[in-house]
């Protein structure tokens, strides 16, 4: 039997797990709480700050990497959770929405970052 290609997805899953663990809580804090909070002046100042940061191309690239890996991480984990929940028979089929979704989200993210 041939070694499975799962190693590839697992590696991305792991890297994505690290990325999501390191960054996502901070992202939630920023976009969910810090930016919307406060009066207009504060919000404007923080928005400018945020826009400046995200607009800088090294940050864009890094952000794209974090997002791409995190999406694969989620896709992989969702796929395996669904398998553990009884969809084991469809393990191959599940790759399409799970990894395909991660790929689509990554392309979307690239387009959005490009526009900033």
């Amino acid at each position: 039997m041939k070694r499975s290609g799962e190693a590839f997805w697992w590696a991305l899953f792991s890297a994505g797990g690290v990325m999501a663990a390191l960054f996502v809580p901070a992202f939630v804090l920023v976009t969910g709480f810090l930016l919307p909070a406060g009066d207009e002046a504060v919000a404007a100042e923080r928005t400018a700050q945020f826009a400046a940061a995200v607009g800088w191309w090294p940050v864009k690239l890094a952000l794209l990497g974090v997002l791409a890996l995190s999406f694969v991480h989620c896709g992989h984990r969702i796929r395996h959770t669904l398998m553990d929940l009884g969809l084991r028979r469809f393990s191959g089929l599940l790759k399409v929405p799970c990894y395909g979704g991660a790929l689509a989200a990554t392309i979307w993210a690239a387009m959005l970052l490009w526009r900033i």
């Binding site: 992202f27 930016l35 700050q49 999406f71 989620c74 993210a109 526009r115």
Partner: protein, 128 residues
């Protein structure tokens, strides 16, 4: 005469042990993290759409519904981080000679420490 007995597997196996429930909770963080990241993409999109679009978006986000959603996202994301880094010493043992770095210490060095630092730096950057 019926030979070996095979016990049936219930679909609700994940309720059978507390550890399984914890496992499922951990795995389900990925649904919330994925959901949040889509919202994050929307946020980036609005940012790309100009100041007015972004301000409007922020206005919407500060509403109670979105606020609640972000609280849930924060809890899920933090739980992902906590469980992920707790497992790192198992998956990546560090040996100093014949001694293995104790798991709690390894988790702090390789996980919780960097995580809290990254979070603090990002928050500081926005707040400063």
């Amino acid at each position: 005469m019926s030979g070996q007995y095979h016990r049936p597997h219930g679909w609700a196996w994940f309720l059978e042990r507390p550890g399984y429930v914890r496992f499922m909770v951990r795995e389900f963080t990925s649904f919330f993290v994925a959901g949040y990241l889509i919202v994050f993409l929307v946020t980036l999109g609005r940012l790309g759409g100009g100041e007015a679009a972004f301000a409007e978006w922020l206005g919407a986000v500060s509403g109670p519904g979105w606020m609640a959603a972000h609280v849930i996202a924060l809890v899920a994301a933090a739980w992902h981080s906590i469980t992920w880094f707790a497992a790192v010493p198992q998956a990546m043992p560090i040996y100093l000679g014949e001694k293995r770095l104790p798991a709690p210490l390894a988790a702090v060095v390789m996980g919780y420490g960097p995580w809290l630092t990254v979070t603090a730096v990002i928050v500081w950057w926005v707040l400063r």
